[in-house]
Amino acid sequence: MPLMGTKNYRHLNKRLNRVDSADKITGRALYAADVKVPGMIFGGSLRCKYAYAIIVEIDTSKAKAIPGVYAVLTAKDVPKTQSWADYPYLSDGTVRFVGETVAIVAAETTDLVEDALKAIEVEYEELDGVYTIEGALEKNAVQIREKGVGLKDGLPDKDKKGNIFYDSYYPIRKGDIEKGFSEADFILEREYKTPFVEHSYIEREACVVMKDPDAGIVTAYASAQNPFFTRRYLADAIQAPFNKCRVVQKMLGGSFGGKEELVGLMVGRAALLVMATDRPVKMVATREESFMESAKRHPFNFKYKAGLTKDGKIIAWEGTQIANAGAYNNQTQYLNCRAAIHSAGVYNIPNIKTDTYGVFTNNIHSGAMRGYSSPQIIFAQEQFLNEIAKEMGIDEIDLRRKNILKQGDLTATSQKLTAETITLEMIDHMVNTTEYYRKKEEYSNTHKSKEKRKGIALVSCYRGSGYGAETPDAGGSLVTAIEDGTILINTGLAENGQGLKTAYTQIAAEGIGCTTDIINFVGVDTHSIPDSGMTVASRGTVMGAQSMRKASIDLGTLLRETAAMLLKTDPDKVDIDNNEFYIIGSDGKNKVSLADVCNTRLWTGKAMAVYNWSEPGDLGIDHHTGQGDAFPTYSYGVVVAEVEVDMETGFVDVLKVSSGHDVGTCVNPDTVEGQIYGGIAMGQGFGVTEEVPVNKGQLESKNFDSYIFPTSIDVPEMEAVIFECDDSAGTYGAKSLGEPATEAVGAAIAAAVANATGVPVRELPCNLERTLLGKSLSKGGMIK
């Protein structure tokens, strides 16, 4: 069994405390909102409360007259209103979602900011908008974005007008779909839906922006998930050269994909206020602002149709996957690439036809949230598979075994899986260790109870590791030795709470041969290192760290050369242990310390640092057919959930989640388990309670009193199962985990609920009302 622990590394495959945990636990860690600089004032945004409206007039005179208010800016006062990424810094005159910023202010205190915002008078003319996926696609729907396109013969067409975000359209065409269905003995068609979901990181978005001659023009300290993306907003907002705009990432209190758009916009707005006032400006989002303007997980509508032979082989798969992109968007075109590639699940299906696209609506924008479409897709696909199994009267595990991708198979994009693929072993292991069939039998005895019923379900999935064909997966790292024998490591990728600093420290130690405790990870400062792309797509370790691996191996080689010179031998006769170089086989008598080696190099003028750039592999899919090699490798997951459903109240108690993941090489079991546990909690929220209810663009949850995610008391018993395999694609054989850890959990819980109640789940979350009544209720009598 390919469980963890058979790989031979010095520093990988070993438990290591997170290098930043002491700072976080003791409160020493400094977050962006902790930054204070002399002369600092505060900034704030006036947000529109309409989902779609024209600004008739803005009167800022009363606000400007308040003593202590230094700037009140509207569209006419700034170089550009729309950011490089579509989202507006300031409304261009039409507001397209609730919370769109129409004016920004800077004042001496936060109270004065509030006073100023209240003193701004805005006259709006409200418009009828579109709010849902269905509404956006209606024949006579209002077109809310100029670039929106319409449907022709049911597919997005550039020459038609409408609300479809054309760049986000990805078809998959594999085999012959008509032939596939014509040969099928059994055909089933179903529809599924998922809601807006909020990341709910504890730290809200924050920044301090200041003029900084040392940096060039400005420096921003920000809670930025992707500091180089934030720099793009900073330079863009004030129209300054990138090399004079510096972004420093502060410790992040959670991100999960969310600290991108709003942080960038806030940094841009603060920079505009800095330029207008010549004072450092701090902006911190309230929780309500974070709800209103931070990206949400895309709601999706799914329609799937599958054709199977009578022995349960899926031979045809057709699907439509439509995402609600919100009013402004720069994410759905990337997200849907992934959504399309994974649109037929982790299954070996010869004939596939799927269409994936996003629509513009008058809502908060959807963006990246841990999974980047996969939690929604896996929810729908895995419920569908269980519905197929039930309708056909075959065992749901057998159905998966018969169809799951194995080594040598072709994916939906016809990529051949050449590396070791352990899907069947994983299913076997999870079925056995969870005692799936025994429990299924035992739980079925509760299925007549009027009060509480138990259910169990298994789901399987896979995920392309890293960016893949979405965008070039490149990155650079700088590894520097210092005269005292310590090491600095620096990269363009960021610690976002996922444990990147710790993983990179281990990877650098593995390459150099030194211990982890003499390595210090430099946080991201955009003036110190080239852009390595975003810290997203679970790419940090698997692909992003390739350059760290190579740079540290190269630095280790240089250090060994100097050690050999000092030890008067050949470099290949030298090894390192506990930061001392020794001659192999010399009983440890002939040694020289790493500090002496580094010191010698400094004073003999030898290179002290290695910078390595890792270029992406040759990947790409054809845009018309979606065919091609999509990812360097894939992470596989098998998750089993057990629930108890209160049939009289609809309360879903998640009893246990056993989450098995193929991580290729487990860099650090502690952080891997941490990801899996956190992923289970987040997946539980997605499955059971979490939804940002939106009523005609108005968010009905804007804070944690009504937005319900699981607490430590709610989380189930958790079993993390770590699988390893041999796959050379990722750094030291590692695969993605950050997103896999959560992507199948909601699906597994929903399937377990369906097992308990006997009623399929076709819409998330499985909250009280939907579980009891089969539909959600909302205020004002509107039944969704």
């Binding site: 509030e114 009027k450 009289e648 109240t649 108690d653 309670t689 009193d705 607490t711 009280l768 509107m782």
Partner: protein
């Protein structure tokens, strides 16, 4: 956020004098767990408030005592203080169960029972058991004190009969029989830190033959004001508890709820669920098991 002045009186007398002076322009801060949220949300009802009177440090409002069969709880007693009180544990265990479900440890450490009553939320956890015990309130003003039944005091959602110069001083009720049956059942959207979607407090006293001699049934979050549902109670009085009877009583409570609130957006959910919760609470209080 609404801005306000802040004073922390050193005694009830000082507090009452200030209250008499400021009247509608003053608001009492007991634990602040609701009040501060309302200030931040700029709740309309606070728009004229100028002064916040912090009574959270008045120890004379925090006393819990048993006196000749009657229990008195100072309005400033926090939920954490109540949960750990041995007198209440013995004579009003379902009240303690209810208080344990309030918010989180942080909220229970600062939130007070008097504040919970004064806020008059239909979703209050402490109010249903207090109403079930026919609790009365002692209200104090600079002119003196008066007593009022808790179920009369709360007039509607967020509305009470408190006068602008009054403070809730204490809550009083007769001690219950420790051997009687108690139950507090709460349904939230998660297991903790959850506002009650619905809850119910039940008290059942029986004679040696198992015949019910006293019963109180008080649902929460079902109606704007938590009250005893006498028609439902009467169904159990003089009877021997049974699953079917409890089921019927649950349906009666549900029927009464709709009688009071009419059909609302939430009725399709609340109608069956309150019936189930009442049934479960009665089963738990009387030791009746689920009918398989």
């Amino acid at each position: 956020m609404i801005r306000f002045d802040y004073k922390r009186p050193d005694s009830i007398e000082e507090c009452l004098a200030l209250l008499d002076m400021y009247r509608e322009k003053a608001r009492l801060f007991a634990g602040g767990t609701d009040l501060m949220v309302e200030f931040r949300a700029e709740d309309k009802k606070l728009k004229d408030v100028e002064l916040v009177l912090d009574i959270s440090k008045l120890t004379e409002l925090k006393i819990i005592k048993l006196d000749q069969g009657s229990i008195s709880i100072g309005s400033g007693a926090t939920f954490s203080q109540i949960i750990e009180n041995p007198v209440l544990e013995k004579y009003a265990p379902f009240f303690i169960e209810a208080c344990k479900t309030v918010g989180s440890p942080q909220i229970r450490n600062t939130g007070t029972v008097g504040g919970n009553i004064g806020t008059a939320s239909p979703a209050s956890d402490s109010v249903p058991p207090l109403v079930a015990m026919d609790s009365k309130l002692v209200l104090a003003s600079s002119k003196g004190t008066r007593n009022i039944l808790l179920s009369d005091f709360i007039e509607g959602a967020g509305r009470t009969l408190i006068q602008p110069d009054e403070v809730i001083k204490s809550i009083q009720f007769k001690k219950l029989k420790p051997e009687a049956g108690f139950s507090f059942v709460k349904l939230g959207r998660r297991k903790t830190l959850a506002i009650a979607r619905m809850n119910v407090a039940v008290y059942v006293e029986s004679d040696k033959d198992g015949v019910v001699t006293d019963v109180r049934i008080v649902p929460g979050s079902a109606t704007p004001v938590s009250k005893r549902i006498f028609e439902a109670e009467n169904m159990l009085l003089g009877k021997i508890p049974s699953y079917d009877l409890h089921e019927a009583i649950g349906k009666k409570v549900s029927e009464k709820m709709i009688g009071i609130t009419g059909k609302r957006w939430s009725t399709p959910y609340k109608e069956p669920v309150i019936a189930s919760l009442v049934k479960r609470a009665l089963n738990e209080a009387t030791g009746v098991k689920e009918n398989e």
